[in-house]
């Protein structure tokens, strides 16, 4: 019994990381209906940026965010402003195919620079610290930090979207870009800011993924799939939904791994497909998907 409690608990904590993957995807879909296939590769890219920053600066990984976050923010803004803005429109093909092409370019550039070797960001004693909750039941400090950070980021994003000036601009542009323009909003700028904001979240997710698992230049696509599954399971456009979706994914992967190690990833995909059959709009649908 306690074994299963443990499995579910660890799954929930992993769900926090998946929610971070998903939140970035949800932001840009929410604001500009763009599905970014490079999302996973950007997570891996930011893990590499963090790794380099840590190697160069040489201290606590968390401090590396001081360097990583501005880089990702600026990169996101430029990426959107110089490339992705030109793909937006009624036609589905350009955004999909352009982000797909960029995904291959980023993966192969990372491969050229860092080789195919598996990497990991060292976080010292934090990796093994844990809190004893009960007999035979303990949680790692680091997964707990990730989960708590994920919850705070979602609260922060929720606040930003509902209560701030820039949040209103995001929502207005999302609802009707043309009318928003008439009110003096530069939609191209707003789209670029939303991508920059998404990449801030990606920057944090990248550091966490680098500490908690091995990563290499080809690790992006599977992160994209986890992010995507969490977004769809949670319900398009709902930030809290991404946390719910992430938790479902994390718990089902952990249960699958318990049954058979080969079933870990498969169990997550199957949970996603089951929800797709019975709740195609996700658990907490907020926006229409078109």
């Amino acid at each position: 019994m306690i074994e299963w409690v443990n499995i579910v608990l660890q799954g929930i904590l992993t769900g926090g990381l998946y929610a971070l993957f998903a939140a970035g995807l949800a932001i840009i879909f929410g604001v500009m209906r763009l599905v970014n296939i490079t999302h996973g590769d950007l997570i891996v890219l930011s893990a590499f940026v963090a790794m380099v920053a840590i190697d160069v600066i040489g201290f606590n990984p968390f401090i590396s965010l001081v360097v990583v976050l501005p880089i990702m923010f600026v990169f996101g803004y430029i990426l959107q402003r110089s490339i992705l803005n030109f793909t937006l429109g009624d036609d589905l093909l350009p955004p999909l195919l352009v982000t797909f092409g960029l995904s291959i370019v980023i993966q192969n550039l990372l491969l050229q620079i860092f080789s195919a070797d598996s990497q990991r960001i060292k976080a010292g004693s934090l990796e093994i610290l844990s809190i004893q909750l009960y007999e035979n039941l303990s949680v790692g400090v680091f997964p707990l930090i990730v989960f708590i950070v994920a919850v705070f980021i979602i609260i922060g994003l929720q606040y930003l979207f509902s209560n701030t000036r820039i949040g209103r601009a995001f929502r207005a542009t999302s609802d009707d870009a043309v009318t928003a323009q008439l009110m003096g909003i530069n939609d191209r700028h707003i789209f670029s800011l939303s991508m920059a904001l998404a990449l801030l979240v990606v920057g944090i997710a990248g550091l966490f993924v680098g500490i908690s698992t091995n990563f290499d230049p080809s690790a992006g696509p599977s992160r994209l799939l986890f992010a995507f599954e969490a977004v769809i399971m949670g319900g398009l456009g709902s930030l809290w939904g991404t946390l719910a979706g992430g938790i479902i994914l994390g718990v089902s992967q952990n249960i699958g791994a318990k049954l058979d190690p080969g079933w870990q990833i498969l169990a997550g995909h199957i949970a996603f497909l089951i929800i797709l059959v019975f709740r195609p709009n996700g658990l907490f649908p907020r926006m229409r998907d078109d």
Binding site: L93, P94, L97, F100, G101, S103, Q112, I265, L276
Partner: protein
């Protein structure tokens, strides 16, 4: 003064009639290759044929059906595994597993479509990718098929195609040629039929085509099933040439990546585009083979650039400039005016 005009719809063009003649000559040359060509050339041509066939099928899906799938490797790998299952464990002749894999691929595409068609637009793409991952993870679990490390085609199965190596290679070559010709002919005829008109209408505007009574869902489903059929058959053919299969190789996203780049660079939404794209892909591959991932970076950036600056691709630019159409699927209105 009364204007009485005569209208008619013209389909063939001067280039298409020339193209038909050239096509027949080219086909005759290709059929004869095993009698005079070297082993290396035949091997390369087999690869050209199956990549071109995959590109045509993906183009039909994305360029006409608006179904941007990045998970066609699900059907390709599935077809490959059907070759191994039916030739090793059931005793079906290896060559006959190619059409059989196609039929089974079409059948398995029905439940897959039931799932992925729930996802609209952009999310459909990633949904198909999830399905391909699920296929890979499931086949990796089947111990009888070698699990995660895969399996080799036994010598007895290979011998059963033909006892001599040259006959065997010629047989596989002709099967590959037959597959690519069949795929192009079927797509051409499909696009010229009333279903093709429906697909073209959907490509140009989903709302408008629906308002004119086109059943978008049915047309898309039909295209999806046909692409699954073709891709699975090609999968069986590919692994018949490779003689070895593993989940990672069979369900590799790179199959789809290559095909997407070929179609985008050549020109999406035309039959000529994938042909041009395939030729460019193979011409550049040989000299750039030593540069490894730089080749993919080059292809990827070219595809991005084309999508941004000239979304109709290289063929689109050529046909616009010179009014060339080798596969006329469009209808042109011609008229004469008689002044009485």
């Amino acid at each position: 003064m009364i204007n009485s005009s005569r209208y008619w719809v013209q389909r063939s063009t001067a280039t298409s009639r020339l193209g038909a003649v050239l096509g027949i000559i080219l086909l005759a040359v290709f059929i004869s290759v095993p009698y005079w060509g070297g082993r290396a050339e035949m091997h390369l041509l087999v690869e050209v044929f199956y990549i071109l066939a995959l590109a045509q099928l993906w183009n039909l899906l994305a360029g006409y059906g608006g179904l941007v799938s990045v998970g066609q490797q699900a059907f390709l790998g599935f077809g490959g595994y059907m070759l191994f299952i039916f030739s090793i464990h059931v005793g079906v002749g290896a060559v006959w597993t190619v059409p059989l894999a196609g039929i089974l691929g079409a059948l398995i595409s029905l439940p897959v479509a039931f799932l992925v068609f729930r996802l609209r637009g952009h999310y459909f793409a990633i949904g198909t990718w999830v399905v391909a991952e699920v296929f890979m993870l499931i086949f990796a679990q089947i111990i009888a098929l070698g699990g995660g490390s895969g399996a080799s085609l036994p010598v007895s199965v290979v011998r059963s195609i033909a006892s001599s190596r040259s006959v065997r290679e010629a047989t596989i070559y002709w099967v590959a040629l037959a597959v690519v010709v069949a795929v192009i002919v079927v797509i051409y005829l499909l696009l010229r039929s009333r279903h093709g008109l429906a697909l073209t209408a959907i490509r140009d505007s989903e709302e408008a085509s629906r308002s004119l009574g086109v059943d978008n869902f049915r047309a898309k489903l039909m295209v999806y099933i046909f692409a699954a059929f073709g891709t699975a058959a090609i999968g069986a053919l590919i692994f018949l040439t490779k003689l070895r299969i593993s989940p990672a190789a069979a369900f590799d996203i790179n199959w789809t990546t290559t095909v997407i780049f070929i179609v985008v660079i050549g020109g999406i939404g035309t039959i000529e585009g994938p042909i041009i794209g395939t030729i460019i892909y193979f011409l550049l591959r040989e000299p750039l083979a030593d540069y490894g991932s730089w080749y993919l970076i080059l292809l990827g950036s070219t595809a991005v650039l084309i999508m941004l600056k000239a979304p109709q691709g290289i063929w689109g630019l050529i046909s616009e400039r010179f009014e060339l159409r080798f596969f006329p699927v469009q209808r042109q209105l011609r008229w004469t005016v008689n002044d009485d």
